[in-house]
């Protein structure tokens, strides 16, 4: 029963994010554009490159779509509305997002093209950079909530949202979330002007439609996770809880889509260097800060 409301919610959410992305990046607001774009994409010829690794080439878009949908299953919309209230929900989110890396690797290798391969391999470097920065702020959030279940994490923010209680963790998680869904300035696997489309360059027709849809669901999932972990989920004064979750998620998605375009793309070695030399000590400082405040205040 509860699975049924996820599908229309996903469709509506991704539709709104497509319209948001075009509005934020180009300034044009065209609400009907995704329908025509989708129809034209599905109507195009679906080419397969020469000598692909057929299993990996076909499986990559599907896996990239399945991973964020699995992650969405542990994020709550309202106090009772969650598909799978796992006791280790925050960690399961992380596990599902790790398969985004596997999917992009498969897309890069399976297409038998140089630019795709380079894009996929550079995403591995990005993964090495952001993987610690995703886990450590979640650890700090779970310390405050004394549980890994996502509903308990939202309920622990009733007095004070985590964005104010753990600002350093919020900034690090925001940047790592942008790196997971490869938005600019972390769009190494796509790299429109440098790698001729990167991993998406060899996909056409209906497989490209699935790949683009998967990217949008990934953006929606990560915006929802930023909302749940740091911005108080469904907490808010007047409106019903599920409206608060949706509004906050879409505001986070608009901010992620709009802010990164003004920064030049980071090279992979710069990303790894900054992530490990600055990011991890800051994340550890955040955990120390949260531990001290928990022991002193409580």
């Amino acid at each position: 029963m509860t699975v049924l409301w996820l599908v229309p919610l996903l469709v509506v959410g991704t539709y709104i994010i497509v319209v948001l992305e075009e509005w934020v990046t180009t300034g044009r607001f065209r609400p009907v554009a995704p329908v025509f774009g989708g129809i034209s994409l599905l109507g195009r010829e679906s080419l397969v490159p020469r000598l692909p690794d057929r299993v990996l080439f076909e499986a990559a878009p599907g896996l990239l779509l399945v991973a964020p949908v699995l992650a969405l299953a542990v994020l709550p919309l309202a106090p009772g509305t969650i598909i799978a209230n796992l006791a280790t929900g925050a960690l399961f989110l992380n596990a599902a997002l790790a398969y985004v890396m596997v999917a992009l690797f498969m897309a890069g290798w399976g297409a038998n093209s140089v630019y795709g391969l380079v894009g996929g391999w550079r995403f591995l470097g990005q993964f090495v950079a952001y993987s610690m920065l995703i886990v450590m702020p979640i650890t700090a959030v779970a310390m405050r909530a004394q549980s890994l279940a996502t509903t308990t994490i939202v309920e622990s923010q009733t007095s004070l949202w985590n964005v104010i209680a753990q600002p350093l963790g919020f900034i690090l998680f925001w940047l790592a979330a942008m790196a997971v869904c490869f938005l600019p300035p972390f769009d190494l696997p796509i790299a429109p002007h440098e790698l001729a489309g990167g991993i998406m360059g060899e996909y056409t027709g209906d497989r490209l439609a699935i790949l683009r849809l998967a990217r949008l669901v990934l953006i929606l999932t990560l915006s929802a996770s930023v909302t749940i972990f740091f911005l108080g989920g469904w907490l808010g004064p007047v409106l019903p809880p599920w409206i608060w979750t949706l509004v906050k998620t879409l505001l986070v998605a608009a901010a992620m889509l709009g802010t990164g375009r003004f920064v030049p793309r980071l090279r992979q070695e710069q990303l790894v260097a900054w992530g490990w030399q600055f990011g991890i000590p800051l994340a550890l400082t955040n955990i120390l800060w949260v531990g001290v405040t928990l022991l002193v205040v409580a």
Partner: protein, 167 residues
């Protein structure tokens, strides 16, 4: 009943992927088959109600096996698998050793009396909480040793792999 079927099904999936690891000649497919075997093992952990371990296994193995795939492409002669290279040696010895190990373990499994099986496990929330308490109180020395071992391994791997600069 559902638990037996889930464990048996994903166990067979893991065995299938494990066989594919050594029978395919494409290196990337071999590494990703190992990922499939490890993911099936992770789902078996979830079916056996060890929720934290299952989720941890799924998360760690995704990153580890992809990195292994990249190293295979770096170091193997024929990563695409189109050249049909010969990659095994000691064929009869290896088959004999594998079969002996497997049959010995099967005999041990079926002949030993394991005692009465416990019907129910603690709920997942209690498990996560009690695992944390155990980690911090009784097994603290093990935890700290593991942490230091991880640090030593990181430093050792980096030092071994750094290229020397000839001045």
């Amino acid at each position: 009943m559902g638990q037996v079927l889930t464990v048996a099904f994903f166990g067979l999936v893991a065995l299938g992927f494990g066989v594919t690891v050594f029978r395919t000649s494409s290196m990337v497919r071999s590494a990703l088959s190992l990922l499939g075997a490890m993911a099936a093992i992770g789902v078996m952990f979830l079916a056996m109600e060890a929720e934290f371990l299952g989720v941890l296994q799924l998360m760690m193995m995704a990153g580890e096996m992809t990195i292994m795939a990249i190293f295979m492409v770096m170091y193997m002669m024929d990563p695409g698998g189109l050249g049909q290279m010969e990659m095994t040696h000691q064929k009869r010895l290896s088959k004999g050793v594998g079969l002996t190990g497997c049959l010995g373990a099967v005999a041990l499994t079926l002949l030993v009396d394991w005692g009465p099986t416990v019907a129910s496990a603690p709920p997942p929330t209690t498990q996560v909480h009690d695992l944390g308490i155990e980690l911090m109180s009784r097994s603290m020395l093990v935890f700290e040793t593991a942490g230091v071992t991880i640090l030593v391994a990181m430093v050792a791997a980096t030092v071994v792999a750094i290229a020397r600069h000839r001045p």
